[in-house]
């Protein structure tokens, strides 16, 4: 077994919660993919005469204010939260990596880019995301872009500090002295050592993005209403919390569980890689 895998295995043994997190995440992904078969009713179909029925044998999680089946909507809602979370994590990581590498290597651009990143970071992320959403029409794509833009600066910061510290390592200096080209240095020395922390940061970004999407939908600036997302379902049900709390409770539990799973996974991975990384995160 390779040393990396051994480290992961030991880490997960120390943090069984990370395994639980991973399992929950896989279950959620499965639910999202299998939604059309797991849902009992078309999540968009309205039955006004059956509105606001509490959970029962016919509708396992009850019906909402237009008679739509909450269980089916929650199952489909997994798709949105997961797509948004994973897409934002992936996009912000890639974008942050690109920008971070540039700042790490191109001195002149470093100052400019870092000021821009600082500027973006000083606008609270939810505020930035809402403002960006206000520019365009509501769609999942726009939500992903808006949240990504808000999360990128942090990734850039991480990559930049990693690149700086790695550049001073003796083996990198030796490689430069030996005349290795920049691309080779990047590929052989820098990137392999960045991947792990980036992955860990990615999981935190994923969780944060899912919550930001919920907040955006709650305020009314998130996913369009005809696409059920956990944030959406809670937003529509919030005024009825005293008579139909299941409208908030079930999506709320699903969202919290998924974010928890992602965070636990991130914790486990971080400990597996290097406990000292904790300081930087």
């Amino acid at each position: 077994m390779s040393p990396t895998w051994k480290r992961f295995r030991d880490a997960f043994r120390r943090h069984p919660t990370a395994l639980v997190g991973g399992a929950i995440l896989i279950a959620m992904v499965a639910i999202a993919i299998l939604a059309p078969w797991l849902g009992t009713v078309d999540p968009l179909a309205v039955f006004p005469s059956q509105r606001l029925h509490p959970p029962s044998a016919e509708s396992w999680l009850g019906t909402d204010m237009l008679g739509r089946d909450v269980y089916s909507r929650v199952v489909y809602g997994a798709r949105v939260s997961l797509i948004v979370g994973l897409a934002v994590a992936a996009l912000s990581t890639l974008l942050g990596l690109a920008i971070g590498l540039v700042t790490g290597y191109v001195r002149r651009l470093d100052a400019v880019l870092m000021r821009i990143m600082d500027g973006l970071m000083s606008i609270p992320s939810v505020l930035l995301a809402i403002a960006l959403m206000a520019l365009t029409k509501a769609s999942i794509g726009n939500v992903i872009v808006a949240i990504t833009l808000a999360e990128v600066p942090r990734v850039v910061r991480l990559v930049r500090s990693l690149v700086f510290s790695l550049r001073e390592q003796p083996y990198v200096e030796a490689a430069i002295a030996a005349g290795t080209t920049l691309p080779r240095i990047l590929v052989r020395h820098i990137l392999p050592n960045i991947v792990a922390p980036l992955l860990v940061q990615g999981t935190y970004v994923c969780g944060s993005a899912m919550i930001t999407e919920a907040i955006l939908s709650f305020i009314g600036a998130g996913t369009p209403p005809n696409i059920p997302s956990w944030g959406n379902i809670m937003a529509e049900g919030r005024s009825l919390i005293q008579i139909a709390s299941y409208l908030i409770v079930f999506p709320g539990i699903c969202l919290s569980l998924t974010v928890l799973a992602v965070n636990l996974l991130g914790d486990g991975m971080r400990d597996a890689l290097d406990p000292r990384l904790a300081r930087r995160m």
């Binding site: 809402i130 305020i219 600036a221």
Partner: protein, 314 residues
Amino acid sequence: MIAYIVRRLFSTIVVMAVVAFVVFSLLYLTPGDPAAIIAGDIATDEDIRRIHARLGLDDPFLVQFGRWLWSLAHGNLGTSIFTNLPVTQLIGQRIEPTLSLTLCTLVVSILVAVPLGVVAAAKAGSWLDRAVMSFSVLGFSVPVFVFAYILILTFSVQLDWLPVQGYRSFRDGVWEWLRHLILPSIALGTVYVALITRMTRASMLDVLAQDYIRTAEAKGLAPEQVLIGHALKNAAIPVVTIIGVGVALLISGAIVTETVFALPGVGRLTVDAILRRDYPIIQGVILIFSAVYVLVNLAVDMSYVLFDPRIRLT
């Protein structure tokens, strides 16, 4: 040390300039037209064009930007499109609840989180440590508004111990002021507590592993003295940093908390303004929030001078 301070001040100004540019461009690009909203339901094209001219919305980008910067320099954040009141007045009216909320949350969170983190670090690996860490992860995972509704349902509706909503100024009595802030502070503070606890614990763990700690213990100092006198002071820098970074979290969370608890603060003002495309308010508020965030981080960086003597020498 002076060089350090000057450098930080300079970069602060540059950052604020970037923020100003971003904020202005953001809203310049917005497709929604405030003129149509002001003109009302039965407006004609003529009316809308007249309002455009009055608000100067037809001028080129740089002209509008320059005009905005100029009035900014005079402390004038513009006039709200809908209410015709100066933005500074609107923000001033609502700053008290937001300040009260963030102050309360900050105080409560730090008072809870730092000791928790220290204890968790001191007893690393024990069940106490695991419990603390589990709670902190939970704090990250449950969205603020979900937690807020749970608190309201339990403490206000069921038990009737605390008010559901609203804000009372401390001029009307300190106890009423606090009562109305307890639930919002707890809801908002959860994420903050989670963040600071983790950071404190991680930082303390790092420091506790250092040689000088072992020296202190060997010298015969009591464990509390080691923890607080030596370890905490050195662990302080990352913790203080995270407190500064967390202010952004607080501001974001304040928006949602103010909406749920009907606190008439700046967060709610912002959301209303954004959904309504009231440009001057949006610009003014984002600018102020960013300024606060930047200044807080500046203060944090300045405080390094206190904590880390090495900086005094650079």
